[in-house]
Symmetry: C2
Subunit: 356 residues, 2 copies
């Protein structure tokens, strides 16, 4: 596994800030400190402060640490839905959010688009009884990015509707207007280039009020990871359980490195690298971009369709030291997926393009 | 924080195998591999295989990875309890198990002992409607170890009752007879000396059957971390979500190191170190063991009562480089708690005893 360059959709190439931060943290005993002491509270405050700055999360919204994007989906449904949720489904991860709501006993409605196609958030007709709208900003399975601009119209249409955004593979590269979003979440092994095992969930005041109302009605909103429990601890810069302290520390260091580059510069670099990758797919005799509509093409997960199958191309890239992801699910052997996160340098993308 | 020796109750001193294993794993790309590939399945199989060998978990029981001991409590209640659980409560962590069952809407009965006292498992009268008995093998808050020998009598009394054992601070130092235990769990930041952020839950066939029965009745048993979902993935050496891959890998390496010493030798060393620590408390003019009954004294969490308050002693030890835990909750300023895990060497315990 050594010496390879991971362009996989996550876990992926580690951000260059990760290894030095971990080494230093281990040497300094960060993994041994108490999660109920001042040292940990500083780690928590630093990491959440930088995540807020990087993503533009306002002070009105809490920032919680969970263990995976999948856990975030479960906790959002438990804390925000009495009976009915609505899901925009256009791939495997938006599908997962829907399935989780169903397995928690909710009536989970869905508006659907084919894999590779997008959904117009502004045109969604929200059923009267829906309490939460779940949108996936970037479908990691298909490489379709969803424009969240339509959320303003939905807010006017249904002011009481809560909105949850899956930013798992879009953060920190794509923008979210947190004024229109009650819950948003990501896991750290994608855009933040960290080892897996930590997720971040931002929850706004309307989401916390909903959770409190559901609890008052006698609904189970979970135990240690109910929004109520998470918010009470977060207010003290702590977590309900012993968390992944080392990862929270490293997240703070990765955010610092990205902030040092500058958010605008990082996003410009992301767009530039995405341009090179899509261009390479278009020029390639045996490949083409899976997402036909240019406006829907994800800047962070670039999906190519391989005429004649993707296995051979993925294998040849691996021989040259470039690891890319296979297609997802039914497209496993037809697609290849290339991650384009802040950890991926322009020169590395150029090398991958050359190898392609 | 550097250069200190952590005898804290967890997070604690890192096991010497941790840092080299992490360094090597990062260099080899373990944190970048896909959690759906053969490389990860080997990591999973190696870690679960060694945990099984170390703790004596039989092939009949599944081994799942969760993110904290607290999560294990929640998942056990969700998957094993229709209406009523029974909790043996003699400290803060057995209390937490009880509170989690309550917040999940269960009627959680309790048999209680004072902090510092034990509970005779063999003498427990189980209410007719109780479906799950929850026992804490080692109360990290008080340093009381509970003898599980009475579980055989309970099994005869109530063959249908499921039994869950919290091994959070007892594994791998204290034995559990998995024939009498349906669910057992621990988190890795205590006896395994690892950074926090991973927990292990073993679930036997009766627990899986109970979860299936509850689901068939229409009860919500959770979503991605229902026993059904965990078991389906574990059968393929995978996890439902993207897990803490690096920690699973490191757990395998720590288990290898402990197995190399030998389980019997490690437990003998634990008893020897515990003997030195309790002796030191007894000899000390300002300290005495909190747990009066010698038979109940935990080998892994040694709790001392400080006549005149523990703050000054804890501060003086810290100045000499030894970090011990304060008392828990109401005993914060009266007690000190000293961890005695496999990562703590005999010579280090001798140094701590000298400093005391």
């Amino acid at each position: 596994m050594a010496g390879k360059l991971y362009f996989t959709a996550g876990p992926t190439r580690l951000h260059p800030a990760v290894e030095p931060a971990m080494r230093r943290a281990l040497a300094e005993g960060v993994a041994s400190i108490s999660h109920r002491g001042a040292g940990f509270r500083r780690v928590f405050e630093r990491a959440t402060g930088r995540v807020r700055e990087l993503l533009g999360i306002p002070a009105t919204h809490s920032v919680f640490f969970l263990s995976s994007g999948t856990e975030c989906m479960e906790r959002i449904v438990q804390n925000c839905v009495r009976e009915q949720s609505l899901h925009l489904v256009n791939g495997a991860f938006s599908e997962r959010f829907h399935r989780i709501a169903e397995s928690l006993g909710k009536r989970a409605a869905r508006v659907e688009a084919e894999w590779g196609e997008g959904l117009d958030t502004g045109a969604v007709v929200v059923p009267d009884r829906a309490e939460l709208l779940c949108v996936t900003q970037n479908e990691t399975s298909t490489g379709v990015a969803t424009d969240l601009g339509g959320l303003a119209a939905i807010r006017r249409q249904r002011p009481d509707l809560l909105v949850a955004v899956d930013m798992v593979s879009s953060a920190p590269c794509m923008e979210v207007d947190f004024e229109l979003v009650d819950c948003a979440f990501f896991s750290v092994q994608k855009g933040f280039g960290m080892p897996a095992g930590l997720a971040v969930l931002s929850a706004g005041p309307r989401a916390l009020e909903r959770a409190a109302a559901l609890k008052a009605e006698g609904q189970t909103i979970g135990s240690y990871h109910s929004f109520e429990s998470l918010a009470a601890k977060a207010a003290k810069h702590e977590t309900p359980e012993t968390p992944n302290v080392l990862a929270i520390h490293v997240l703070g260091e990765v955010c610092r490195a990205i902030l040092a580059e500058g958010v605008a510069a990082m996003r410009e670099r992301t767009a530039q690298k995405a341009g090179l990758l899509y261009e390479a797919l278009e020029r390639h005799p045996a490949l083409s971009p899976f997402v036909a509509d240019r406006a829907l093409r994800s800047p962070t997960v670039i999906v190519g369709r391989a005429h004649g199958g993707s296995r051979a191309i993925i294998g040849r890239l691996a021989e040259e030291g470039f690891v890319v992801s296979a297609g997802y699910g039914r497209y496993r052997d037809e697609h290849l997926r290339i991650a384009n996160f802040p950890a991926h340098e322009l020169s590395q993308v150029r090398d991958l393009v050359d190898a392609l």
